[in-house]
């Protein structure tokens, strides 16, 4: 707490010595006739003792403030303190009223604010606002006619009505033909505005646009797509309501005029600029570099401002300028503060002169090319005791000499080796095999293990899986068995019981038929099975042997019906 107090005291003390400025503004614009609004008097650089308004017809301003607020900011080490006094005011009739400058007394001295024009509009009688009024959007530029490269400020506004909340996504307008800084608009301000008697909180985003070609350029529509949430009263109960809306602004057309005939030395800078130059030292030894800093400040496209052309010097080598952006954050406001440093390495002793340097730019306000000059600069070069031959090389110097210098540098030699040159550099096939093989191997092993475990744990599955094989094995031994009818009966019953995981003991032809039908077996197959089984049962119960041919036919029939049942089960399984 103590620290905060000390900081505020320090800020005020510092501010007391600073220049006092007073600003007068209305809280909202336009205001509604007959409705009170606030006038805000902002004082920076000192604490206001008293505020006095001149009496003006049509507007009533209370003498005493209804509220007060203050803020302290530190920018680049500079402390600024502002005090805002809020005064209630009202305009009786719809009109435009000029409010004269307010007089603010700071430390006993009077200071004048700006004057102000306030427009009062008639209160609009309209039905209650709907959710659709909850959001509005706007896209506007500070100018619709500009020169190539001239700064245009694009402001995108999203209006949010008081009492609702909005949430949505925006489509930033396409700006083909413009160079934009930054790439997308950045939020800059939140202000209060009115529209048709409704109050809105307006979030503004801005972007600097620089036309890159002449003609008609278009800033596409700005779109918002989202949900508006509000509260309404239904049958005396407050209910939350929401709805989805899409809003789009009109596209903005900009007429871009071409630049007049470009003079010599013009590098593309458009705007208004100041140029300063400073030599790091007026005296230097031969062969020791000295730096010339050229500072360019002003308004324009920061990326289009390049170093002024350096005059040719016979007595020195001049390196490429190194650019430092002193205020990169201000680029979003179209402000430029570049410092270009030239390294000048004198190789001739004596009193030398760096001639005047010229920075040529186009000023769109004056519609003329302007030239700002710096220099000439005097430089005393002391002899180092060596000859006047070049002591340092630079890329801009005589190219033949430069080339010899480059060749004299000893790079490492070429590499030779026994040849095994082949085409291509893609990943070898073995890599892809190594990538795929483990997956396939895992899948195969997993399938094997899964199957083995199922055989171990799922008895029904194991019986059904082996039913056909076992049945066919049994059938192969039927004709050689002592009682072929009994063997055939057992083989077929065993197949049916295994296939449907039913108990085999005591199963008759009737039981097998019922089991098959209960599992949806086709009628023909059921009848075939029953026929074969009954033939066998009759022979067994009569204690008779069937003729050899008939027995063979029954065995073949049994083999066929087993295959058909299995095929039918598979078909049903697949379907």
């Amino acid at each position: 707490m103590v620290v905060v107090r000390v900081m505020v005291l320090a800020a005020c003390t510092f501010a007391a010595g600073a220049q006092v400025s007073v600003r007068l503004e209305a809280e909202i614009e336009p205001v509604t006739a007959g409705q009170p609004f606030r006038l805000i008097v902002t004082t920076s650089g000192g604490l206001p003792d008293a505020v006095k308004f001149e009496s003006v017809p049509n507007i009533v301003i209370q003498d005493t403030p209804i509220s007060q607020s203050s803020s302290t900011s530190i920018i680049n080490g500079a402390v600024s303190h502002r005090v805002m006094l809020h005064f209630r005011a009202a305009i009786a009739e719809p009109s435009t009223v000029a409010v004269p400058a307010a007089t603010v007394t700071v430390s006993g001295k009077p200071h004048k604010s700006n004057s102000l024009t306030v427009t009062a509009v008639e209160q609009v009688e309209r039905p209650g606002p709907t959710l659709g009024d909850g959001v509005r959007i706007n896209s506007l530029t500070d100018k619709i006619e500009a020169y190539e490269g001239e700064a245009i400020t694009l402001t995108l506004e999203i209006w949010e009505m008081e009492g609702v909340s909005i949430k949505g996504i925006t489509n930033i307008p396409q700006t083909v033909g413009f160079y934009a800084i930054p790439q997308e608009p950045v939020p800059t301000d939140v202000v209060a505005k009115q529209h048709e008697g409704l109050k809105y909180r307006v979030r503004q985003s801005t972007q600097m646009l620089y036309p890159t070609r002449s003609g008609q350029l278009r800033i596409d529509k700005f779109e918002w797509n989202g949900i508006v949430r509000g509260v309404t009263e239904i049958d005396g109960y407050r209910r939350r309501i929401n709805d989805r809306f899409i809003r789009a602004s009109d596209p903005v057309m900009i007429t871009v005029k071409p630049l007049p005939q470009r003079p010599e030395g013009f590098t593309g800078a458009v705007g208004s600029f100041l140029v300063e130059g400073q030599l790091s030292s007026g005296q230097v030894d031969q062969g020791v570099p000295v730096k010339l800093a050229v500072r360019i400040t002003g308004r324009g496209n920061p990326r289009a401002v390049s170093a002024p052309e350096f005059p040719a010097l016979e007595w020195a080598f001049v390196g490429e300028p190194v650019r430092t952006d002193a205020a990169p954050d201000l680029a979003v406001q179209g402000r430029v503060d570049h410092i270009f440093e030239f390294a000048i390495t004198p190789h001739q002793a004596g009193n030398q002169t760096i001639p005047r340097m010229h920075f040529v730019y186009f000023d769109p306000e004056r519609v003329a090319y302007e030239t700002k000059s710096i220099g000439p600069f005097s430089l005393t070069v002391f002899s180092s005791g060596e000859s006047d031959r070049p002591v340092l090389f630079d890329g801009a110097e005589n190219t033949s000499v430069n080339a010899i210098d480059i060749l004299a540098t000893d790079i490492l030699p070429i590499v030779t080796r026994p040849g095994n040159l082949t085409r291509g550099n893609g990943l070898p096939a073995v890599f892809w095999i190594a990538a795929i093989l483990p997956v396939l191997a895992y899948a195969a092993v997993a399938a094997f293990v899964y199957r083995r475990r199922r055989f171990e744990n799922d008895h029904g599955y194991a019986r059904a899986y082996h039913a056909r094989t076992e049945a066919h094995r049994e059938l192969r031994g039927v004709l050689e068995a002592g009682r072929p009818e009994e063997s055939l009966h057992r083989a077929l019953i065993q197949f049916v019981a295994n296939t449907y995981n039913a108990p085999e003991a005591g199963m008759t032809a009737h039981d097998a038929d019922a089991l098959l039908r209960s599992h949806g077996c086709e009628d023909d197959l059921c009848k075939n099975v029953q026929t074969i089984l009954r033939s066998c049962e009759r022979a067994v119960y009569a204690d008779q042997s069937l003729p050899g041919d008939e027995m063979k036919a029954l065995v073949h029939g049994a083999a066929a019906v087993i295959d058909q049942i299995r095929a039918a089960i598979r078909k049903r399984g697949k379907s």
Binding site: E148, G149, G177, Y179, Y210, T212, R213, T267, G268, V270, R303, A304, S306, E320, D394, G395, A396, A403, I406, L407, T409, I411, L412, P413, I414, V415, T416, R417, G419, N420, L421, T422, R423, G424, N425, L427, P428, F431, A434, A435, L437, P438, V439, A441, Y442, V445, A446, V449
Partner: protein
């Protein structure tokens, strides 16, 4: 039969490439850099992708005082073999000779933070390690099918994460930064694809930039300082892949385009 013919033709073409390489090296040793460049470029055009060929080609361009193509070829050699010390040293020497001695554009932030460890590895090393870890990971999973061993699943998960990291490394190395090297003494960069428009900034010989977009005759480039602009493609050597031949590779003595334009203007 067909396989035999393919095998024999592969052997023969390998021999032809080796002979060309030897001829190029011989031309270089005899200070015939024009011939050396032609032969090395021929190998590259034939699909040979070899760090030594690019390195030797870079040396030949350097000896011909063409810093842009030299830097581009050293970059190619280092991309194929990041541990190629000679290429790294010659690249530094070459960059030091350029007017601005500007550094190489940095990879995206995610790559720098996630794959900080892979810059010294070649794509082959990354692929080998990835394949081994991949096989181990699946092997651990297979082991787990037969019996439950503590930490096997966690180990397999760790191996998969490692394999994914190395796979990302392979992907990153297969998709290197789209670099271009300014070849002309001065390469004007415009706000748009229009040479009559204002010049945004100028690149100097040897400056390396990122290619954001490529269109017929134009490149949208990003300077190391982050500035974006359009420049004519003729002023650059694209590092690749694909490995393009500089426009006037067969006539290295020809001055770059901007120098010719300056001469005309001064006349």
């Amino acid at each position: 039969m067909n396989a035999g013919i393919l095998y024999v033709s592969a052997i023969l073409s390998a021999t032809v490439f080796d002979v060309t390489l030897e001829r190029a090296n011989e031309a270089y040793r005899n200070d015939d850099y024009t011939e050396a460049i032609t032969l090395y470029e021929q190998l590259v055009a034939d699909g040979i992708v070899d760090s030594i060929v690019f390195y030797n080609l870079g040396n030949a361009y350097f000896r011909s005082s063409r810093l842009g193509p030299a830097i581009a070829n050293y970059e190619r050699a280092l991309h194929l073999d990041p541990n190629f010390k000679n290429a790294d040293q010659n690249l530094q020497m070459c960059v030091n000779q350029t007017p601005r001695s500007a550094g190489r554009p940095l990879p995206p932030d995610w790559e720098q933070s996630l794959l900080f460890w892979h810059y010294g590895l070649s794509i082959g090393t990354s692929a080998t390690v990835a394949a081994i870890i991949w096989i181990v990971a699946w092997g651990l999973l297979m082991l787990r099918l037969f019996r439950s061993i503590p930490y096997v699943r966690a180990s397999a998960a760790g191996a998969f994460v490692l394999a994914a990291l190395f796979a990302a490394s392979i992907w990153s190395k297969s998709h290197p930064l789209p670099l271009a090297v300014a070849e002309a003494a001065e390469v004007p960069v415009y706000f748009d694809r229009d040479t009559s428009g204002p010049v945004y900034f100028e690149l100097l010989e040897g400056d390396r930039v990122l290619i954001e977009q490529s269109e017929t005759g134009w490149l949208k480039i990003e300077a190391p300082s982050g500035e974006l602009g359009w420049a004519e493609r003729t002023g650059f050597v694209v590092v690749g892949p694909p490995y393009e031949r500089p426009p006037d590779a067969l006539d290295p003595a020809a001055p770059p385009e901007s120098q010719s334009r300056q001469t005309e203007l001064s006349l």
